[in-house]
């Protein structure tokens, strides 16, 4: 195949990727979007396989079959609640692949037309080091994010003295190493850059935890794109550059949306250390406050005698796998001609849009699921808010208490509705470590218990009324 034709087919592939993202603007067009993505990828791979350099079909087919079967198996088995971990794990693979491609380009530059071994173009070496650095950071950062989300290591932020100084120092070391590597092209420098970048990736993610996880995943999503970009520059391949830029900007925008959803700057999220054990003293101080407690029958009675209900799900719903029981409860309410809607806070769950996927999995129609801006004006006209597994995103002190760590965060105005039913295991604080003022309001009834069990009990009680 002529090289001009190859480049044109790559261009078509890039356009297909753009269409793929464009398709996600609406649920109805989204499935077509995914098809465009698959078509773009297939075209890119087939085009590459048809070039003159690529003739090692046997080993390549085996590699694709091995990777493809592992990927297929994982994707078919994964539970939707475990989606954040899965995405983090996949990001790490992109990072690692970038490292290996950079290594391959270093040892056989002639295959990519960037010089000969030991005599690679300076500009290509610069681009290669950058791709290598981002790839390695993506890899180790994502592995750590995976471990945090999977519960293999503590999800709490880990901070220590001189953390930022250490990170700065490492960055400086990497920069100097890259300069030396580009000047002398010494093999061992290549691998030292990899090792220090891996260490740097771990240190970047380690201080971030808890409620900031959605930002971390989005950031790593972005890095995996920039890594592809770096490799694209190294190989002078426009397809990789375009795709990497698309992915990189997508991740960056998601990080921005997530940080805004918590009223925090991206910088402060990256610096980390938010949430976890802090502010415990505050909840002890408030322990003499009174709250009203109810059971499933009370909740069923209140729900049945309302005209409209807004469900506010959070990560706790995912942990308890309560989405199906919840939808069953809502189906009964809908049969009673009660208006049921769902309100999703931008940072609910552990990754952007996580709650929407879980509700979709439980067969909730997407037009009943509304975003914060759409639903907030409706709370005062709503009889019952049913908060299940959410906490910080409903805390009214974010609006009034200037000393609160979550002050200024946009919240769902559940306290404006007639009655708040709050399903929770205990009065414990959420990820931010802040006590929720809502528990002690007159119109709040606490329903203590496991989210799934509570929904099932309410369903039983609704049937008996």
């Amino acid at each position: 195949m002529s090289s001009d034709l190859t480049l044109i087919l790559y261009l078509i592939s890039a356009v297909l990727f753009i269409f793929s993202l464009r398709g996600l603007s609406h649920p109805e067009s989204s499935r077509r979007g995914n098809i465009y993505g698959i078509a773009g990828m297939a075209l890119a791979v087939i085009t590459t396989l048809s070039t003159k350099i690529v003739i090692n079909y046997f080993e390549i087919s085996i590699a694709i079959i091995i990777g493809g079967s592992i990927g297929t198996l994982i994707a078919l088995r994964i539970k939707m609640t475990a989606l954040p971990q899965l995405v983090a794990a996949f990001h790490s693979l992109v990072g690692l692949a970038a490292v290996f491609v950079a290594a391959a380009a270093f040892y056989r530059p002639e295959a990519f037309g960037i010089g000969n071994f030991g005599d690679i173009h300076r500009s290509s070496l610069v681009e290669m080091s950058i791709g290598l650095f981002i790839g390695a950071v993506t890899f180790s950062g994502s592995v750590l994010a995976f471990c945090k989300l999977q519960g293999l290591v503590s999800g709490n932020p880990v901070t220590f003295k001189f953390q930022h100084a250490l990170n700065g120092l490492l960055l400086l070391v990497i920069l100097i190493l890259i300069l030396f590597f580009v000047a002398n092209e010494i093999e061992s420098y290549f691998w030292i850059i990899v090792i220090i970048s891996i260490l740097f990736g771990i240190l970047v993610v380690i201080p971030i935890g808890g409620a900031d996880m959605p930002v971390v995943i989005s950031m790593l999503n972005s890095y995996s794109g920039w890594a592809a970009c770096g490799i694209g520059f190294t190989l002078s391949n426009n397809l990789l550059i375009i795709t990497g830029a698309l992915v990189g900007s997508s991740g960056a925008i998601l990080s921005y949306i997530m940080s805004k959803g918590m009223n925090r700057s991206i910088i402060s999220v990256i610096l980390g250390g938010f949430g976890g054990e802090q502010s415990q003293t505050q909840s002890e101080k408030d322990s003499d406050k009174t709250f009203r407690q109810g059971n499933a029958e009370d909740a069923a009675y209140i729900l049945k005698n309302s005209e409209s209900v807004i469900i506010v799900p959070g990560y706790g719903m995912a942990v308890a796998q309560a989405q199906h029981a919840l939808r069953e409860m809502c189906d009964i309410l809908k049969r009673e001609k009660i208006k049921v809607r769902y309100a999703i806070h931008p940072v609910a769950g552990r990754m952007p849009g996580h709650m929407n996927v879980l509700l979709a999995e439980a067969n909730v129609s997407y037009d009943e699921v509304l975003e914060l801006e759409e639903i907030n004006p409706d709370f005062p006209m709503t009889e019952v808010s049913f908060v299940i597994g959410a906490n910080d995103v409903t805390n009214p002190s974010a609006k009034s208490d200037k000393s609160s760590p979550i002050y200024g965060m946009p919240i769902l105005d559940v306290e404006r509705s007639g009655t708040v039913l709050f399903v929770k295991r205990s009065l414990a604080t959420g990820y931010s470590g802040v006590d929720n003022d809502l528990f002690y309001r007159n119109n709040t009834t606490m329903l203590f218990g496991d989210a799934k069990k509570m929904c099932e009990d309410i369903v039983k009680s609704l049937d008996n009324i």
């Binding site: 993505g37 890119a44 989606l83 692949a97 300076r122 999503n221 550059i241 998601l254």
Partner: protein
């Protein structure tokens, strides 16, 4: 004050041009994505970032035995996990996003 002489600077500049324009396209396309589909957006971008497989294939392409070929093949395996896994999981998610008919 050039630290590195870009022997093929026009190649770099054209790559940079493509890069900057692609960032703008990404910016506008991604803002049009509905927030409800942010999870599928992440998994599909994850899948397409595995287009890095193109680089891996070039490295794994020749028939000779070279350390670069091994690296290339490893990268092909890793990227394939991602491509298949990413698109399938996106497919699974998107097939759940349906408008339900009433009285179901």
């Amino acid at each position: 004050m050039e630290i590195f002489e870009f022997t093929n600077s026009s190649v770099f500049i054209s790559g940079l041009t493509v890069f900057v324009l692609a960032c703008f396209i990404g910016y506008y396309v991604v803002w049009s994505v509905t927030p409800a589909l942010h999870s599928p957006l992440m998994s599909v971008t994850n899948a397409i970032s595995s287009v890095i497989i193109v680089g891996a294939l070039y490295a794994a392409g020749p028939l000779d035995n070279n350390i670069a070929k091994i690296f290339g093949l490893i990268a092909v395996v890793l990227a394939s996990v991602n491509i298949f896994g990413g698109f399938i999981v996106t497919y699974r998610m998107l097939s759940m996003f349906k408008k339900k008919t009433k009285n179901k």
